[in-house]
Symmetry: C2
């Protein structure tokens, strides 16, 4: 971290813009959470923007009351983002989010540096800087929830790639003849291993269970659910093995809801990984995310920190 920020009273605001909830938070330069507030997300960008602005303003004034200097603001968006243009590309769940210059809006309203990225990159950055990936040079973060997202963090900066779409491990194709994915392709990792895939497999087995319920039943020993969870974890293990063969990170950090499952998920994950990764990288650590519920807002705050430091800015 930039020396001019360390040890001062600088604070960074993070806005996590999800499909169903909006969260504001703030962190200091060590990633300690200073405050957090949550509201349900109104439908559509036009309704959500004033709410977000009010939340950010209220956080900024609370921080100033605490004697903090508000040095930057970050935004983690639950949908595709054009990082180079610092604009949202759209939301799969809510209207009005096409081409919104979010960073510019908040930077001009609050007169502080602001940075926008998708929520997977924000979460990965937070884990790399403050969570399971800290003190590691190359971190592969894999968020396994309803969908599957990911982020590659190299020396404290997100590797975003040519079209700001790097890290899309959820849409690597494991079987071109596999089940149809949300993205329209067939056999993506997401269609095999996300929470929604657990639900679909349970339904195919004649069970009416959510992904979460399928995991709970597997942990309680249900044979059918156990087989479903093992199969999903095995597919993820293969995709992670392939990503590690290519990238050779220091650590892989699975985060999101699904990795909260116990050994019923982690054991087949690790087995599939070890069996299929290149031998030189067989001892790469797979370690659960550490920031849990607050990863989103800490990730957004971490983007605010990078905005303040001028690190990893779009070129």
């Amino acid at each position: 971290m930039d020396k001019t920020l360390a040890g001062t009273s600088a604070a960074f605001i993070g806005l996590d813009i999800g499909n169903t909830r909006l969260t504001v938070g703030a962190a200091d330069a060590d990633g300690c959470l200073l405050l957090t507030e949550e509201r349900s997300a109104p439908r559509g960008a036009e309704s959500a923007l004033p709410v977000l602005l009010a939340m950010a303003r209220s956080a900024a004034s609370a921080l100033r009351t605490q004697g903090r200097r508000v040095a930057g603001l970050g935004l983690g968006f639950g949908g595709p983002v054009d990082y180079a243009g610092q604009r949202t590309r759209g939301s799969f769940h809510s209207p009005g989010w096409v081409d919104v210059p979010l960073a510019e809006f908040f930077a001009s309203e609050l007169r502080i540096p602001a940075l926008l990225d998708n929520d997977a990159n924000a979460g990965g950055l937070a884990e790399a800087l403050f969570g399971a990936g800290r003190r590691h040079r190359v971190v592969l973060y894999v968020n396994v929830g309803t969908g599957i997202g990911g982020a590659i963090v190299i020396e404290g900066t997100v590797h975003r790639g040519a079209t700001s779409s790097a890290g899309e491990i959820g849409h690597v194709v494991l079987d071109p003849e596999g089940p149809v994915c949300n993205c329209g392709k067939r056999g993506c990792l997401e269609a095999f291993a996300a929470g929604s895939a657990l639900e679909r497999m349970a339904s195919e087995a004649g069970l009416s269970l959510t992904g979460r319920e399928t995991m709970a039943a597997a942990e309680q020993g249900d044979v059918v659910c156990r087989a479903i969870v093992e199969q999903a974890a095995g597919h993820l293990g293969l995709a992670i093995a392939n990503a590690v063969s290519l990238l050779d990170p220091d650590i892989v950090v699975p985060g999101g809801g699904v990795p909260l499952a116990g050994e019923v998920w982690w054991t087949p994950l690790r087995e599939a990984f070890s069996r299929q990764v290149v031998p030189a990288a067989a001892r790469t650590r797979l370690a659960p995310a550490e920031l849990g519920y607050h990863a989103g807002v800490l990730g957004a705050a971490a983007l605010g920190m990078q905005a303040a430091e001028g690190k990893g800015l779009p070129t």
Copy 2:
């Protein structure tokens, strides 16, 4: 490139250490080949080392006669390398290559900075600096020959990863039930799409053809060989699509012998790629390597240039 090297008469020696041949070459700071010499490789490190040293010394004195300053030496090795330790890990084809501190040996004998890497990383570096990948920020190089190797080059430096095994696209697993690979795993890309895989598939079809002959027959319209080449190229297209979904490079550069095939190989490669990559990265360029026969020795010389510049050195 470092300004202190540009425009001077600096030259960089490259040694390409293959299984069957040893090549020495030299390049200037723009990647122009200044000289090259080739010998067949004697068996074993003990016999090869004095030959390599004599070749390097002879190149150095030829360069000095031309008025060049010999500023660095690079080594591209045809087998696994411990980059951090700057030692060969061993050769699959020749004895005596376990744990040889090649860079230190040449640096001390010739009294110039030296750098060692595997030949895929060397070739990828050369294409990124001087070939099809020049002026691109992130380059994915895929060498498709008897085996399949690869390299990820980010801003002119090879991304080597935690165990110096990054870039091993040849050993991503496409089908866990697939054919046995040279590495011992099943269903690796190499077992589906390398020159040796073409030969195996031809043999399974009752044909006694090498990989090269299979490609030639496919180009001449042989229906069976055409199907074999299309299948191999399709598997490579899938693996490259997955790598691009993860890494989002600016350009993908297939090099080595197999991409010298014509449209019979490139068309199914591009089709499989476009169908399976994440939509955001669908327009990523796939462009053939440009340095051809000299990629190996130019890559080694590029390592010599990085040794001189102190760029991408092991930490």
